[in-house]
């Protein structure tokens, strides 16, 4: 489209736990908080369900950034799921970095159901940050822009 500027539009995949972060994203909606439309959200019941493999699959599919978000430590609906998440993604960030994939492309955050503004802020900041980091282009044959 002619009127579209050619700013890089990062693709961000979001994996959100249902109880806190997905609800927080809902709250952002209910409160009409505006954030960039670059994120695609996948809901899981607990951030403990989210595997590094899902992150890698997202990068394989052309994601430039992945947001993993769960309940604040201590608030996990399933008591401890997010503690495992925290460990898994601490490792994953190191390994991504080791393979030359900027750590900033994988963000782990805690957003509660009431933190709509926080969710909107996180997505906004992350979109900006990934825009700075630039496209990942891991795919040999990228999907159409």
């Amino acid at each position: 489209m002619a009127d579209m500027d050619d700013t890089f539009q990062p693709r961000i995949m979001g994996f959100l736990c249902s109880w806190c972060s997905y609800s927080g994203a809902d709250t952002a909606g209910v409160s009409r908080m505006q954030y960039p439309p670059n994120i695609r959200i996948i809901r899981v019941m607990c951030s403990g369900r989210i595997e590094p493999l899902h992150v890698m699959k997202a990068f394989e599919q052309g994601a430039d950034g992945v947001l993993v978000s769960g309940c604040h430590p201590g608030d996990c609906h399933y008591a401890t799921g997010n503690y495992y998440t925290q460990r898994r993604f601490a490792v994953m960030r190191q390994l991504l970095d080791f393979f030359g994939i900027d750590q900033r492309r994988l963000k782990l955050t805690w957003v509660s159901a009431s933190e709509g503004a926080r969710f909107a802020d996180i997505v906004t900041a992350m979109t900006e940050e990934i825009r700075m980091v630039g496209p990942l282009n891991l795919r040999a044959n990228p999907k159409g822009v």
């Binding site: 430590p73 994953m92 390994l95 030359g100 900027d102 891991l138």
Partner: protein, 317 residues
């Protein structure tokens, strides 16, 4: 023509005879001479006659623990080096091997010679005996004695070995070997070297290296602590992504394998040894082991009772 180490080999054979005779084991997993110079191959002895083919010498590189699962229902004996024994610890921890179902003969290991490395200085076919000491590797050849620097003869992992003698064994083959003092991070040299690069340089490095990968999955097949009945990371044979060796699929496989191995890799680097295209996989698994240590203070292969770092959490972390 073939390397012998008469004394320990004979003791080993004797021990296995006894195991069979006393009914302690039905099979014994060890090494026998391979078809080529400086090469051995895994050997499963089921009889006294089989046992007499067993050898132990500084060419016995294979980590035999990866074959244990084939003998799950039998009383089995096995010969393990220091590094191999760490895999055994993980396999017991992860319920793949029952400690009471396996008789472990621990082989204090002075280091294993890398036949490709030696071939640079000596024709392997001329070597008749090898003796490895801390500071030197002595070769007896048809042309006489040759002494090599360990760095020119041994596998890299042996140069920084922190565990020449197994922790876990029922009996030892020979005397324990003292640990040579090595710098803390020496074992992770390859990884640390890569860490010094910029992210972009690292990506370029791996892009080049992984571009060679054929997705043959030999690295996974040989790994002693990869025990899944089917690997969730391996692409099916007919998957076009496997045929095309798409970059993202190759990155994904190796990165995810590194993740799966974090807190599990014991550093035998059999993967790197068998890689047909010489990808420096040890660097990846050094990184996995290093992060396991740095993030969680966890060392795989050292304690059967330790809970894997990703199966637990600390004080709210």
């Amino acid at each position: 023509m073939t390397v012998v180490n008469d004394q320990l080999t004979l003791i080993l054979r004797e021990k296995v005879h006894t195991l069979f005779a006393e009914g302690v084991a039905d099979v014994f997993i060890g090494y026998r001479h391979g078809g080529k110079p400086l090469r051995v191959q895994p050997h499963v002895a089921r009889s006294a006659a089989d046992a007499d083919q067993l050898v132990w010498n500084p060419t016995c590189i294979n980590n035999l623990t990866s074959t244990l699962h084939k003998f799950a229902d039998m009383r089995v004996g096995i010969l393990v080096k220091g590094c191999d024994s760490r895999a055994l610890v993980e396999l017991i921890k992860l319920r793949q091997v029952r400690r009471d179902g396996v008789y472990i003969i621990g082989a204090p290991c002075p280091g294993i010679v890398d036949h490709e490395l030696i071939a640079r200085s000596v024709d392997p076919a001329t070597i008749t005996d090898i003796f490895v000491e801390e500071a030197q590797v002595m070769l007896t050849t048809d042309a006489g004695e040759i002494t090599l620097d360990p760095a020119d003869a041994l596998y890299a992992k042996c140069l920084t070995c922190a565990q020449p003698t197994p922790d876990l064994y029922d009996e030892l083959l020979g005397d324990p070997i003292a640990v040579h003092p090595i710098p803390l991070d020496a074992r992770f040299n390859a990884a640390i070297e890569l860490e010094q690069l910029s992210v972009a340089e690292r990506f370029a490095f791996w892009d080049e290296q992984l571009n060679k990968c054929t997705l043959c999955y030999a690295c996974q097949a040989v790994c002693p602590v990869c025990f899944c009945t089917a690997c969730a990371l391996a692409l099916p044979r007919n998957d076009p992504k496997r045929k095309n060796r798409d970059r993202e699929s190759v990155f994904s496989f190796h990165l995810m394998r590194a993740y799966h191995m974090t807190g599990r890799c014991i550093g035998c680097y059999e993967c790197e040894r068998v890689c047909p295209v010489d990808i420096p996989l040890s660097a990846i698994f050094q990184k996995a082991e290093k992060e396991s240590r740095d993030l969680f203070g966890y060392k795989a292969g050292s304690d059967v009772a330790a809970v894997p770092p990703l199966s637990t959490f600390g004080d709210k972390t």
